[in-house]
């Protein structure tokens, strides 16, 4: 298992290096001169040259890249071009918000989707299955902003239970925050639900047909023991992996939902940065996203291996 962890860590390291390279090259190749963008149209040639010299923009690209990556690792992410403030604390605050929303979404989505998926799988092609499958597909067919708007309509306009937007102030306590988290989390849940349900359902159906289930049944074990001890132990392996991976996706992938609810997370920060062509900020958010995604994948792999003796014991 130690070898496996090391192997996955090496894999993660390579992934991050390669994607950082891509991010660096792409942002370098964007049209426009950084010095000109920062200093503005009226800057004279001397000022531009001085700026380039000071920021190492005349160095060869490999040197620039290494310096950029080293600075990123040490938390020196520079200043935002549009807000003129330090990027690191800004991104970290947004990251915290994103993690909070992701966590709450997962708390709702994971158990709900798993239970529904297992139910559908156990009652393959029966009314329960059809109801769950059709309903979840119908929900996922709607774009997130539509589901989000419908939820706002119901829960804040008609019922008035929850606020329609989630403008969280920095320094707010959890008690102040949580009502604002529910609607975006519910919207994200609806997006995830269908996918996890389908996967779990397929897993359960596949495992039910395997010969070891017959072995267990013919031992004379009651059906619920067969399902709990034998079927689910194996059927839920892919589900667990996908839930862990979704974590990475949720951290940065909620761009639309965060915009609908004005939620101050990474997704909205990214749209903000792109709007203003704020290169250092875009780079920082992209890198945080890559690391988050990579970590989520790492956790998914490790969980899978830990739960699956065939992988755990072969390293």
């Amino acid at each position: 298992m130690v070898a496996y962890v090391l192997r996955r860590l090496a894999f993660l390291g390579l992934t991050i290096i390669i994607t950082s390279l891509v991010i660096f090259i792409v942002t370098q190749m964007l049209p426009g001169d950084v010095a000109r963008v920062v200093l503005g149209r009226e800057a004279g040639d001397e000022a531009l040259a001085a700026f380039r010299e000071a920021h190492g923009l005349n160095d060869p690209l490999p040197v620039q890249y290494t310096r950029w990556l080293a600075n990123f690792v040490m938390g020196e992410w520079g200043t935002s071009l549009s807000t003129r403030s330090e990027i690191y604390p800004l991104v970290m605050e947004r990251l915290k918000n994103s993690l909070l929303l992701t966590g709450i979404t997962m708390l709702i989505a994971a158990p709900l989707a798993t239970v529904l998926g297992v139910l559908a799988g156990l009652h393959e092609d029966k009314p329960t299955d059809s109801a769950i499958s059709i309903a979840s597909l119908a929900v996922v067919g709607l774009p997130e902003f539509v589901t989000g708007l419908i939820l706002i309509q119901i829960f804040s306009r008609w019922l008035g239970w929850l606020p329609p937007n989630s403008l969280i102030e920095s320094g707010a306590t959890f008690a102040e925050k949580w009502p604002m988290l529910i609607l975006p989390a519910m919207t994200a849940t609806l997006v995830l639900l269908a996918y996890i349900i389908r996967l779990t359902r397929a897993g359960v159906i596949e495992e039910l047909g395997r010969p070891y289930v017959r072995t267990a049944t013919l031992k004379g074990l009651p059906r619920h023991t067969v399902i709990m001890k034998h079927v689910l132990r194996n059927a839920l392996l892919p589900t667990i992996t996908v839930i862990a991976i979704s974590f990475g996706w949720l951290i940065s992938g909620l761009i639309v939902i965060e915009n609908v609810f004005n939620y101050p997370g990474l997704g909205r920060l990214l749209t903000f940065a792109i709007d203003r062509r704020d290169l250092p900020l875009i780079q920082a958010v992209a890198m945080v996203t890559v690391v988050g995604f990579g970590l989520a994948n790492l956790i998914a792999d490790l969980l899978y291996a830990w739960l699956n003796p065939r992988i755990r014991l072969s390293y």
């Binding site: 996955r8 010969p211 013919l218 034998h230 003796p309």
Partner: protein, 693 residues
């Protein structure tokens, strides 16, 4: 104790009920071992699953009763039935790996049934589990109990499942092809175990298999099923010596036995194939279309099951004539008989291999390399083939036998060019053969063709048979479209299939027919060498002989040489001129096929010979059984690689020194430290009686 009366089972397909078992009756007494023989599609597994109440979704019982100790299982409420099942009837399934829960320790899986059925407390169940594992002769019970299924070998998995079945001391054990997925040597050991356990415990057993040899070794009585019908039933010895039904007769004759060779014996093949579920009309004899003695009545009237010859039963209109010897029901060969072979066909060797080694790294990715560097672990290499020398003469067949993991398939793939060799010289008709497929010219590609084990996967499902057969003519032969079409038609005729198959997709063909297409494709380029990897092991028994005969006939016509790989010594002995025996990546013996049933042999070959379950009564004497498994190809044993398992182990010399190749008559040789004369004496003694020292 078990009494099945008129059982009928049907599968529903598109709203139509297709009978899978028709009017099946059988009664099993306490302590009796009953064999249920049939090919795939005969309904034998359906019978077992009907008894166990575990029919697949669309399967349903349409008639009859299954009585177990006086109670009709079919009318029992589900809760009662589960109790009977877990405690009184146990199943040993076909595929041990997938029949065990992959994420649960083996011991826990055995203990689970004990705790539930016998209400044993945890410690007692654990203790009993270890006792059971010892009973099924597992070498290190506590280690196996702690293992997950994938950590132990197939033989050990099957023993664990047998332990699980025996644990609750059932009155009836149903064994569904329990040794089919195992190696011959493991199969032999598991059969020994089952024989003694069933005998000791006086348990009744229903043994389902397609392997007649296994039935002969294990069962008191045998029932033969064909296409949903019970066609014959009787005492094993009597039935095998004097089969009355033409199907039973054909089945017995079409399986090559040890000592038979194509030069002296022609394998009679049953023509045609087993009809699909949709092609089994009720008002006639199901075997009539394939039967050598069918008369008009057989096509218009279904024969009934009659008592015949002692306490046997038979379903055939013509059995009285067969029994009295008036007519012969032996199947006649459908192809022209194989011509006598000339011993020298051309000069020199088609293929010559010198010092071939195939090795590869266990872990090949960058991340693996980084991990190994951090942990300071050496990079391990798999030695799949090591120092192999072989040659094949034109028009000859070299048989290659060995257990799985011996490296025989890797060797074949290296010759074909699918695996790169690490070292060694390979010459093809006098010219060096490049290692990589991409470096071989078109003529070399034409020269070497192959037929793989599983015809289901060997044909592209989206190409029609015609397209598949035209391709070699166009890509290798450089022929025009019209010529290729003509060639495809010719090849299809050569393998005995109707011309309208050209437009069909592989999905509509049976396994045997697909294998014929694969054979036609391989012969289309008129190859000098054909590599054939277990061509019949996935086919039904009754079509195997026809496929073997077909290959043999085409080979003689083309003058192609053949490397024939199989784990089945009897089949190899039948089809080959010379035989190479492979163990742990090395050739340990080369002998001529005629001398296969004579001694001396390498001790490994001897053990393989002892492991073949024969239809004839086994020779007296101490049978030799191998312990353990083929060693991993990463840590190969020192000296003679066979020494850890060798029943004729000499001493330190076997551990330290690579055995010399000892030449014998006919160009036979063995790689062993024991002088051939001594081996011969000892082996003849133990094969005929006397026992191993």
């Amino acid at each position: 104790m078990l009494n099945i009366q008129g059982l009928s089972v049907a599968y529903e397909q598109n709203g139509v009920l297709l009978p899978a078992v028709r009017d099946f009756s059988l009664s099993l007494a306490k302590g009796q071992t009953y064999g249920l023989v049939g090919e795939s599609g005969s309904g034998k597994t359906t019978v077992a699953m009907a008894i166990l109440g575990y029919l697949r979704g669309e399967g349903r019982i349409t008639g009859g009763r299954i009585e177990f100790e006086g109670r009709n299982l079919l009318t029992l409420p589900q809760s009662e039935r589960i109790k009977v099942l877990g405690k009184s009837i146990a199943l040993v399934p076909q595929d041990p790996m997938s029949s065990l829960n992959p994420s649960m320790r083996v011991g826990a899986q055995i203990a689970e049934g004990l705790r539930y059925q016998l209400a044993l407390p945890k410690e007692q169940a654990t203790r009993r589990t270890l006792e059971l594992l010892e009973l099924v002769r597992v070498p290190d019970p506590s280690r196996v109990a702690r293992s997950y299924p994938h950590e132990i070998s197939g033989g050990m998995q099957q023993r664990a499942l047998i332990a699980m079945a025996l644990g609750v001391e059932p009155e009836l054990i149903i064994l569904d092809e329990p040794t089919t997925s195992l190696d011959v040597t493991t199969q032999a050991a598991v059969l020994d175990l089952l024989r003694s356990l069933i005998h000791d415990k006086n348990t009744a057993a229903l043994y389902i298999t397609h392997n007649l040899g296994v039935v002969a070794q294990l069962c008191d009585r045998v029932a033969v099923l064909y296409a949903s019908e019970l066609v014959e039933d009787g005492e094993t010895q009597a039935l095998f010596q004097n089969p009355l039904h033409p199907y039973t007769k054909g089945l017995l004759d079409s399986v090559p036995r040890l000592g038979q060779n194509k030069s002296g014996y022609e394998l009679p093949a049953i023509p045609g194939r087993i009809p699909a579920l949709t092609e089994r009309p009720p008002g006639c004899c199901v075997f009539a279309p394939r039967c050598p003695v069918a008369i008009e009545r057989c096509f218009s009237e279904r024969p009934i099951l009659e008592s015949a010859m002692g306490d046997g039963q038979i379903r055939c209109h013509r059995w009285p004539e067969i029994a009295s010897g008036e007519i012969s029901h032996a199947v006649k060969e459908t192809f022209a008989p194989v011509k006598a072979r000339t011993s020298t066909m051309g000069e020199g060797d088609v293929l010559d291999i010198q010092g071939l080694r195939v090795e590869y790294l266990v872990s090949r990715s960058i991340t693996d390399a980084i991990t190994n560097a951090i942990l300071g672990r050496p990079t391990r290499t798999v030695k799949a083939v090591d120092e192999v020398n072989l040659s094949i003469r034109p028009g000859h067949t070299l048989g290659l036998v060995g257990e799985s993991g011996s490296g025989k398939t890797t060797l074949a793939r290296t010759i074909v060019g699918l695996v790169e060799r690490t070292d060694g010289v390979v010459t093809m008709t006098g010219l060096p053969l490049p290692s990589r497929l991409s470096e071989r010219d078109i003529n070399t590609l034409r020269q070497i063709q192959f037929i793989f084990q599983n015809p289901e996967e060997a044909l592209n499902p989206y190409l029609t048979i015609g397209e598949t057969l035209q391709r070699p003519f166009i890509t290798i032969g450089g022929k025009s479209r019209a010529e290729a079409r003509e060639g495809a038609r010719r090849m299809l005729e050569a393998v005995g299939l109707p011309v309208d198959y050209l437009g069909r997709l592989p999905g509509r063909l049976s396994g045997g027919e697909k294998q014929r297409i694969a054979i036609a494709r391989a012969f289309a380029t008129n190859p000098d060498l054909l590599i054939v990897d277990e061509p019949v092991s996935s086919l039904d028994v009754s079509v195997q002989a026809a496929v073997l005969n077909l290959m043999e006939r085409l080979q003689t016509e083309n003058g192609s040489a053949m490397l024939f790989i199989s784990h089945d010594l009897a089949v190899v002995g039948y089809l080959a001129d010379r035989i190479a025996v492979m163990y742990a990546g090395q050739i340990v013996e080369i002998c001529s096929a005629e001398t296969l049933s004579e001694f001396p042999h390498h001790p490994y070959t001897e053990a393989l010979l002892h492991a073949v379950p024969g239809i004839a009564p086994q020779p007296l004497g101490q049978t030799i059984r191998l312990q353990g498994d083929v060693p991993s190809q990463i840590d190969v044993p020192s000296g003679c690689r066979f020494h850890p398992r060798c029943p004729r182990f000499l001493g330190q010399v076997c551990v330290d020194v690579m055995p010399p190749h000892q030449q014998m008559e006919d160009g036979n040789w063995i790689a062993c430290h024991i002088p051939p004369k001594e081996l011969q004496q000892a082996q003849e003694r133990s094969y005929r009686g006397g026992g191993v020292e």
